[in-house]
């Protein structure tokens, strides 16, 4: 026993990166790795609170989410997904390069990963500034600027008009189907035959939002839920942009408390954005050390751990993107 202790303290045998309380480099490496995984578990649980809030409000108010997600730009979201996934690839590759003593390659890949982070944040900046301009904010700050889009995009204006001048609604008291479709957005609602409507979402959000967007004649004293929507005219299917613009133009179309969606959107993407920034800081730190030649096949723990962190940041986005942007 005594000999072992002396061995452990022999300074000549301790590489500079090995801390004094570890016996071997492997013990230090696996400790660091376990520590990082535990830290990632805490991060997941930190986000879990927000995912839980999302689930609670989406469960109780699906109409808010279905309505409000139209205001998120799917293309920009998809672009960011691609950017982050690619940066995860370059990160993993950088770790591999560090393990293989390919210092320059590792540095280049880390720089690329950093660039990916910058790209993600830039796109996010564009998205946020669009929302702020349109007044699509959280809670007490929510003040949508109706018509903002129509003014900037005359082409869409026309399409919006078309949506408004859709054929008059056909009132059909027996339209149980349509009623069920609308009622389904309110969980626990009772169908026309007294049977509870199953908790399914409306099959077609386009139809639904159109129903809400329609201007009903004042004389028509029929429950809006009993209106069956006629096809959108000979022109055919309404383009997604048109829906968004018509929604913006018509405040009556909005369900109550749309700001809840945007509150959750800003909280989730904002907290995620903070993590992207922190991850970029960590990548910059290992990049600097890599350039100085501190890592190699014998010791690459920090690169590995930062890589794990970056993959988590990526993974959280993989959940955020469909939950916020791709709702049906």
């Amino acid at each position: 026993m005594a000999e072992r202790t002396v061995e452990n303290h022999g300074h000549g045998e301790h590489p500079s990166y090995l801390q004094h309380h570890f016996d071997t480099a492997e013990q230090q490496f696996t400790s660091g790795k376990l520590g990082m995984w535990l830290f990632l578990a805490t991060e997941v649980l930190l986000f879990a609170g927000l995912f839980c809030a999302y689930a609670v409000y989406r469960g109780s108010h699906p109409e808010i989410f279905i309505y409000a997600h139209h205001f998120l730009d799917k293309n920009l979201g998809a672009l960011n997904t691609v950017i982050l996934l690619s940066s995860s690839l370059t990160m993993a590759w950088a770790v591999r390069a560090a393990q293989l003593d390919q210092r320059k390659l590792s540095a280049a890949l880390l720089a690329l990963t950093l660039l990916g982070g910058c790209g993600f944040l830039s796109v996010k900046y564009v998205e946020y500034s669009h929302k702020i301009r349109d007044g699509l904010l959280w809670g007490t700050k929510y003040a949508p600027a109706h018509g903002a889009h129509g003014a900037t995009a005359p082409g869409h204006e026309a399409a919006g008009q078309a949506a408004h001048q859709a054929p008059a609604p056909v009132v059909d008291p027996h339209a149980a189907e349509a009623q069920a479709a609308v009622a389904a957005t309110r969980p626990g609602a009772i169908g026309p035959d007294g049977v509870p409507v199953p908790r399914t979402f409306a099959p077609d959000p386009v139809v639904q939002s159109q129903a809400a967007a329609l201007d009903l004649p004042a004389s028509l004293s029929v429950e809006p839920s009993l209106i069956k929507i006629a096809p959108a005219g000979p022109e055919g299917v309404v383009q997604p942009e048109t829906i968004k613009d018509s929604l913006i133009r018509d405040p009556a179309a909005a369900p109550k408390n749309v700001h809840i969606f945007f509150g959750i959107y800003y909280l989730m993407t904002g907290l995620h954005g903070i993590h992207v920034v922190l991850g970029m800081g960590a990548i910059a730190w290992v990049l600097r050390k890599t350039v100085r030649g501190e890592f190699g096949s014998a010791y690459y723990t920090p690169v590995d751990l930062v890589g794990l962190y970056w993959h988590l940041v990526d993974l959280i986005w993989i959940f955020l993107f469909p939950l916020l942007y791709l709702i049906h």
Binding site: T5, H9, H20, S31, F39, A41, L45, W138, G139, H259
Partner: protein, 561 residues
Amino acid sequence: MSTSETLTGSRPLRAPGAGHESDNYLNHSKGILSWIFTLDHKRIGVLYLVSILSSFFVAGMLAMLIRTELLFPGRQLVSPDAYNQLFTLHGAIMIFLFIIPGIPAALGNFVLPLMLGAKDVAFPRLNLLSWWLWLSGAFLAVVSILLGSVDTGWTFYTPYSTTTSTAVVSMVSGVFILGFSSIFTGLNFIVTIHKLRPKGMTWFRMPLMLWALYATALIQVLATPVLGITLLLLIMERVMGIGIFDSRLGGDPVLFQHFFWFYSHPAVYIMILPAMGVISELISVFSRKHIFGYRFIAFSSVAIAAFGFLVWGHHMFTSGQSDLITVIFSALTFSVSIPSAIKVFNWLATMYKGRIQLDTPMVYALSFIVLFSIGGLTGLFLGALATDVHLHDTYFVVAHFHYVMFGGTVIAFLGGLHYWWPKMTGRMYNESLGRVAALLIFLGFNVTFFTQFVMGSHGMPRRYFDYLPQFTIYHQISTLGSYLMAIGFFLCGAYLVHSLYRGEAAPANPWGANSLEWHTPSPPPHDNFEHTPEAGDPYDFTDWTYDPAIRGYVAKSRTSH
């Protein structure tokens, strides 16, 4: 980290005072900076100890003010608003600054690597960072007191916490930071126990204190982040008006309660599990008998940690949960009593036919068993739906959680403090005064809080500034009990401080325990052990015999070398 001195240093003599002459962690380096930036887990443990004891003193004084205010109906000392702030601060400081870090961060930091036979925790820098985070959190708490204090109760329930004009944001930010301090301690402990066990230290040779700290650390790591996000949401609600807990904006205030208790109920087990670990050590050592049912105690710690996550809803029986949910939460709540009872039965079985020695730590351990049993059993009244509706938000609840948190955690903390005091400081305290103080605290505690069970079941609501005349006698008995307790604490503080200056030098093993921290001098050297110790059965005391010359135990096998 110059380690060569300790190696070349002479073998420690087993004589009083020897520990102080040789190099140890206390005199290894000098100056305040060598303390506040230390990476040594033992010094960090001492830093934590000083810090949490200061908070305990402050929060205890607040409690004295509360009890004094309640001596008679109507206003005595403070205004109703100030009273609200008093009980909020008492609760928040006791919970977040004292009890949660109490045993794990102060005692645990000191003993965990020693018990394991390791040189330090896995991440010493993170350990130091966690103490600094504690300090920052405490600083923010002080700032919020200066900014006009907080009057929400320690639970920060919405919508009151989002509308009150008091300094909620700074206080909540402080608690948020304290949460990270707690997470880092837990993370460090888990990795240390997994990765730094020396050869021969298998999972089932670990002292039960380490199992308890491990289970605690699991909760710290898994539950605290949820508190973090909850408090962050509360801050966002106040600062930016996000509306997620605000019913005027379509939000749900009860959601806050769910989020809050998802952390704060497991946090109750962050408080009690390490206390149970301490008691498992004390009962076995001072009964001079091998612990009974080692594996049952070890696994019941982990079981309590697991069950602890499934019972949070029992805090909201009257908050408008669905009936189904309340029934499920009630049933799950009862299930927690199984692993808790397993522990109590095993401790009793350990004492059975043991040679019980009533040293101060054992007096605390026995107090713990009595008080924790009362606290646990009264919890069943609150877990049962029908009785809870009557008892909810009365002094019955106050008495219940004080029996568990004070009668459980604080008493075990004091027991552990007295048990490891010779190891930490290298000094012995006055044993008779120790027993007197322990008895005073036990009596004072029961007078204070047993009365509150009666008062609560008669309908006295908690957190009220004023009360009906029929409750006067109960409040007065309770207040007198709290004064008795305070005398016990001042006595305890006095002889402990006295021992630092005038206490006899402690032998390496004053109690005849066999876990590894007693295999090294008191106080331990900077690197914990001169020779990496070999782990054996921590509860096999047969090798140790009492040597009256040094007033401590000597290992037969070691002296024969």
